[in-house]
């Protein structure tokens, strides 16, 4: 996909009056969901520009570390897209993704991360409209939830540096 037109669309579709724009990192599998996103693009569908798509060969390639790192580096939500059950190009990569996703969701819940910030969707190559629907829905959901890190909570690394200074009692 060409880069500049994509940037242009993003500035046009930001709704006025809302300061917070969610950043969503999306890991899409090469064979189904990424192809569907491509289809959505060539079909001139408009979807929320808040998503940054990363193509991976298979949803089974997605290490839970990728998701955690995305949050660590400022993502407000993470979307995983893979082939429908039974359709995986590598036979069962998407099932592996499903199992990791289920356990990762529970880990994230314990760490205070809201349900809606991580989403897994099966999207076939022909379902460009589903790409649009899921991205739009998720963007709205995360707009409601607000930023991943509230501004007063420092990221861990930064806090470590600050901690040497005396801190007022909370």
């Amino acid at each position: 996909m060409p880069k500049e037109p994509f940037e242009d669309r993003s500035s046009r579709s930001i709704p006025s009056g809302s300061a917070f724009e969610p950043k969503i990192v999306a890991f899409f599998c090469n064979w189904c969901t990424y192809t569907a996103a491509d289809l959505a693009g060539t079909s001139r569908m408009h979807y929320a520009p808040n998503v940054r798509i990363i193509r991976v060969m298979c949803s089974g390639r997605i290490d839970p570390q990728f998701v955690l790192k995305a949050f660590h580096e400022g993502a407000d939500g993470v979307l995983i897209g893979g082939c429908h059950p039974g359709d995986c190009h590598y036979q069962e990569g998407n099932y592996k993704a499903l199992r990791r996703y289920k356990l990762l969701k529970r880990l994230l819940a314990q760490l205070g991360v809201e349900e809606g910030r991580l989403r897994l969707e099966w999207i076939a190559a022909s379902e460009g409209d589903k790409v649009k629907r899921v991205i739009d829905e998720m963007t709205e959901e995360i707009r409601r939830l607000g930023p991943f890190r509230p501004s007063e909570a420092e990221p861990v690394e930064k806090q470590a540096v600050l901690a040497g200074q005396p801190r007022e009692a909370r």
């Binding site: 059950p85 289920k102 880990l107 760490l111 040497g164």
Partner: protein, 330 residues
């Protein structure tokens, strides 16, 4: 001519259980060789030196400072900075200094909720006057100052620059000996950031039960340790116990597994893994032999406490580091 001065070494503990200090004593007779090779300039658990003694030393005059324990209090952080200034090499010794350790699980809470539970809500507490720890207290002899309790527990390298790590909860005598040899032996110093004394492969490689691990491991479900008496001499993971050996650095000699307990990951991640818990979670989830969503959920319920299972020793050093706080100030 004076004999060549022995390198000066400091040992210090921050938020730790004392197990790492015990591990040094566990060197047994080899401790005498250590004392022969180095001069102990500071070791509060065993020798009567004070902080002032360290402050008086010229900067960089210690060859090495071994620091164990996590950073929980302002005092820990001050001591870490002081020892960093005085020592040429700072070594994070043991899981807590390396990755945050068991005390790091307190990052599921914060100062306020910890104080409320420990000094007010815990069933064994009687505190009718509502006394909570203070950083300053006016005593008859003058104002007393106590260390501040941070909201977030940190690993040593989140506070000061760390040169080397010695893994383990606690590091075994073999690992400690190998680390001391790497630092004070004949050869060149290893590259900065190296995890000393342990290998670079997964624990399975040195596990005596590895031969019985099937090539393709698929499980119908998991079992918790109190639910089964494991068969001896058979891979614990293959028996459905959550053994984190495949995600954990080798070096301990599979001590827990030899006692029929699965690996809980105290040696931490392999070199190319940044977030131990993410990798260990991936290991366990991937080997579940089910494609059915409901069945997967039911099987994974056996992982009763995902954070406590996968981040038992490494929550502060993970990508998220702590429980995300929201609505602290409504």
């Amino acid at each position: 001519m004076m004999a060549e001065a022995k390198p000066k070494v400091a040992f210090y503990w921050c938020a730790s259980c004392g197990g790492c200090e015990e591990a040094v004593v566990d060197l047994a007779e080899d401790l005498l060789k250590v004392v022969e090779a180095v001069e102990l300039a500071f070791w509060p658990v065993a020798l009567d030196f004070k902080r002032e003694d360290v402050e008086r030393l010229p900067d960089g005059s210690l060859a090495a400072a071994f620091i164990n324990g996590a950073i929980r209090l302002s005092e820990h952080e001050e001591m870490a900075h002081l020892l960093r200034r005085k020592a040429q090499l700072v070594i994070a010794y043991g899981s807590c200094a390396h990755l945050g350790g068991v005390p790091g699980l307190a990052n599921l809470h914060d100062r306020g909720s910890i104080f409320q539970y420990v000094y007010r809500d815990a069933p064994s507490v009687a505190n009718p006057e509502g006394v909570f720890p203070q950083e300053r207290f006016p005593a008859e002899e003058g104002e007393l100052e106590l260390p501040a309790f941070w909201d977030t527990v940190k690993a040593l390298d989140q506070v000061v620059e760390v040169d080397y790590y010695v893994p383990g909860c606690p590091p075994t005598p073999k690992v400690t000996r190998a680390a001391i040899e790497a630092l004070f032996g004949e050869g060149e110093l290893p590259p900065k950031g190296t995890v000393l004394g342990a290998g670079t492969r997964a624990l399975c490689h040195e596990c005596p039960l590895n031969e019985t691990k099937p090539d393709k491991l698929l499980l119908e479900g998991f079992k918790r340790v109190h639910e089964v008496i494991p068969e001896p001499n058979k891979c614990l993971l293959a028996q459905g116990l959550i053994c984190l050996g495949p995600a954990t650095r080798e070096g301990c000699g599979a001590l827990c597994i030899s006692a029929n307990m699965p690996c809980t990951g105290c040696f931490g991640p392999l070199d190319r893994v940044r977030d131990y818990g993410g990798k260990a979670l991936s290991e366990i989830a991937s080997i579940l032999n089910s494609n059915d969503e409901g069945e997967i959920e039911r099987a994974l319920e056996k992982v009763a406490d995902p954070v406590g299972t996968f981040y038992r020793y490494s929550l502060p050093r993970s990508f998220l580091g702590r429980r995300i706080r929201r609505g602290d100030r409504p």
